[in-house]
Symmetry: C2
Subunit: 218 residues, 2 copies
DNA sequence: CCAATAACTGACCCATCGGTCAGTAATCAA
DNA sequence: TTGATTACTGACCGATGGGTCAGTTATTGG
């Protein structure tokens, strides 16, 4: 990122190709940490190892930077999840377990953790971006989980229920965990995420199982 | 709130007693809508039917106003929930159902709906207030639900499990629903909250149910 | 080595907004 | 009615930070 201004060394380099990604990373980190309004573009620039002027060479405005973060960093991750599901062979319960844990690994433990918090927090100020996020990320991600639920019902592995609502109940604790971890968790009693996810999966699969008390494995 | 400046009428009234509550209501609405940083004190004042100067007669700073919102409007609601639980007689499952639906009525459908979103969004900028919220609201609210779970286990109504984690899984979809409704829901496919809550309760209580023969802990 | 090019800098502009306070007018006691 | 009190107003200030651009310096092609 930033280069140390050693004596006699050049003060900066031309790195046209690398700048956009570095600026996006810096912006994501700042937005997640402080929120959009409270983020200073000077800070984004500093994090990216450039000055504010350079940020404006690549993005027209602070808002354009926000949109680019979502389009370039978040949407691709959904596409990845869709591919993973298509490639999976096994029971639907196992697929659901894998999906939940993968989700936590690629969202909960990555720089993307703060995205749900950021999007819910700023939805009032940026309705266009919010709408884009709902259709291109939230609904698309729910569809991935819904597909697994339908698969399980078709195979007689899960009992029949309204997928529309079940998927919301399934996803809510995941998204909430991401929001919590990126915000208030540091002031709360620590807890183990794996166990939280397993408890949720346990309850949920139990609730979905054809015979209560038997969730298909174990 | 605001009085229309009809011709010849007086321009404003002295209403010392009513001002603080009206200002708090206005601040809550604005904070929830725009976030703390993006909220203009002129707007809060306008909503409360006063001018900015008056806000500063009752609250020392924007941040003090934020803290007052939490202390005066949110914390009392938790105390109310605690009383309700103590007064209840019936099965633990019924108590849980009542608690969940009551929670939605008094939080999800009220002006307090936006509080979880607000607190998670601003936790990075106001660590002191965040800590206060976690200990005086979040943990205390979880304790209410945890009490019901323990009650059910003691009576043999629920199977034994780790309350610490079960309560988190129980509460997450509720809090998330509040966040979602106050933010991105307006861009999403509409759905019926009652059915969402019932689906969650159904899954959760099913997961907690004592199953003949398979009653053990894990 | 020397232009020519353009990536990058950083000082600057100015609208915005938190916060202040001298003045004004509603209220009340006498 | 009138003077004293004080709740309230609104013009103002200073700091902040998004956005601009003339100038600087790394890079490249000849």
């Amino acid at each position: 990122m930033a280069q140390s201004p050693k004596s006699g060394r050049q003060r900066w380099r031309r790195r046209k190709a690398a700048r956009p990604a570095e600026i996006l990373d810096a912006a994501l980190a700042s937005f997640v940490e402080r929120g959009f309004a409270a983020t200073r573009l000077d800070e984004v620039a500093r994090r990216a190892g450039v000055t504010k002027g350079t940020v404006y060479l690549y993005y027209r405005s602070k808002q354009a930077l926000f949109r680019a973060v979502v389009e370039e960093l978040v949407v691709p991750e959904v596409a990845r999840a869709e591919r993973e599901v298509r490639a999976f062979h096994g029971t639907s319960a196992d697929l659901l377990r894998k999906l939940v844990h993968d989700w936590w690994r690629t969202v909960g433990l990555s720089r993307l953790r703060g995205i749900p918090k950021l999007m819910t927090a700023e939805s009032g100020n940026f309705p266009d971006l919010a709408r884009y996020f709902v259709t291109h990320v939230a609904q698309r991600a729910r569809r991935v989980f819904a597909g697994v639920l339908r698969r399980g019902m078709r195979d007689g592995e899960f009992r029949r229920c309204n997928v529309e609502y079940a998927v919301r109940v399934l996803v809510a604790p995941l998204v909430f965990a991401a929001i919590w971890e990126g915000s208030l968790a540091k002031f709360d009693k620590p807890y183990r995420m794996q166990r939280y996810l397993d408890t949720h999966l346990d309850m949920f699969l139990n609730g979905l199982s054809v015979v209560p008390g038997k969730d298909g494995r174990r």
